[in-house]
């Protein structure tokens, strides 16, 4: 039986830029940042105070993937082909929208009232699609 989700994954092109975006702009916190043997850097972030779930920010680069695959993955992400990467929950979508907008985050969709809540969408510096939702009663995260 699987009981919860512990780690999700997002490809990034540069882990320092990813930190600047996911921590500096979105307001997440670092849960682990370990360099192991030079090339490998285990970098995870999570919403502040959330201890049972993290997002692995993995660099698209050799030796994890071969150089040709890395180039292809980067090209696909930069054209928005990485799909729906992460959905975050917020108690106030409009306030968060204003905050992220003022920080220069690329907004792809302004807050919209849906039957599952109020949500908006942004892209990270690499092209990954992220949604932020203030859930309506009865929906996940409410």
């Amino acid at each position: 039986m699987i009981t919860s989700i512990s780690i999700s994954h997002v490809w990034v092109f540069d882990q320092d830029e990813a930190l600047d975006f996911y921590v500096g702009k979105l307001g997440l916190e670092v849960s682990a940042d370990m360099e192991i043997g030079g090339a490998m850097r285990w970098l995870t972030v999570r919403p502040k105070g959330v201890t049972d779930r993290e997002i692995l920010l993995e660099k698209v680069a050799p030796p994890s993937v071969d150089p040709d695959a890395a180039a292809k993955i980067r090209e696909l992400i930069s054209k928005g082909a990485s799909g729906f990467s992460v959905g975050f929950v917020t108690p106030d979508a409009n306030a968060l929208f204003q905050e992220l907008k003022s920080k220069g985050v690329e907004i792809t969709e302004e807050p919209t009232v849906q039957m599952y809540g109020t949500d908006f969408a942004v892209r990270d510096p690499f092209g990954n699609h992220i949604r932020l939702v203030q859930p309506a009663a009865g929906f996940a995260g409410a």
């Binding site: 092109f13 980067r74 054209k79 729906f84 690329e106 969709e109 510096p125």
Partner: protein
């Protein structure tokens, strides 16, 4: 892969500094496509999208097609038809209202484009499809977008819609024959 240059001025300050020229081009074209997804109902035109991408109209059309495999105009028409399909399924708005709500400025163009893509008139479509379950709009917009344009008339309906009833599909098949 040949690289199409993007003027430095069009690179967003939010973009990764590590982007190659091809990736920067992709991000610029993605930004134009995101604008179409967000503002499809506005009188968007290719010249203004090209201007916001910082390139000439011809260069914009060619580059967009290189990246996404279709022209910006065709992408926008598919986006508008997808939103029209949504409104026809989910609301009681008249076909005329739907036409203008999704950004078409002529009922004739709307009906012709809708039928080219779905092989059904808007009224036929409404009678055969029902509301879908609540999923994030972006997800529905990505997956319910008709994948064909025009060439649909040569084969199966190209859109996918999990709400299609068996009888609805059967009728569509009979209609084709």
């Amino acid at each position: 892969m040949h690289d199409v240059g993007v003027p430095t001025a069009t690179r967003s300050t939010g973009d990764s500094a590590t982007l190659t020229q091809t990736e920067a081009r992709n991000r610029t074209m993605l930004r134009a496509r995101d604008t179409m997804d967000r503002s499809f109902e506005l009188p968007l035109d290719v010249p203004s999208l090209a201007a916001s991408a910082g390139c000439s109209e011809a260069h914009f059309i060619r580059t967009f097609k290189d990246v996404f495999g279709e022209t910006p105009h065709r992408y926008l028409q598919r986006r508008r038809v997808e939103r029209a399909m949504y409104l026809l399924r989910e609301t009681q708005a008249s076909v005329t209202d739907v036409c203008f709500d999704v950004g078409f400025n002529s009922l004739g163009t709307f009906s012709r484009t809708f039928k080219d893509i779905t092989r059904l008139t808007p009224t036929q479509f409404r009678s055969r499809y029902q509301p879908v379950a609540a999923v994030p709009t972006c997800f529905a917009m990505a997956w319910a977008r008709p994948s064909s344009f025009g060439e649909a008339s040569r084969g199966q309906p190209q859109y996918s819609d999990s709400t299609a009833t068996t009888s609805g599909c059967a009728e569509a098949e009979e209609g084709k024959a």
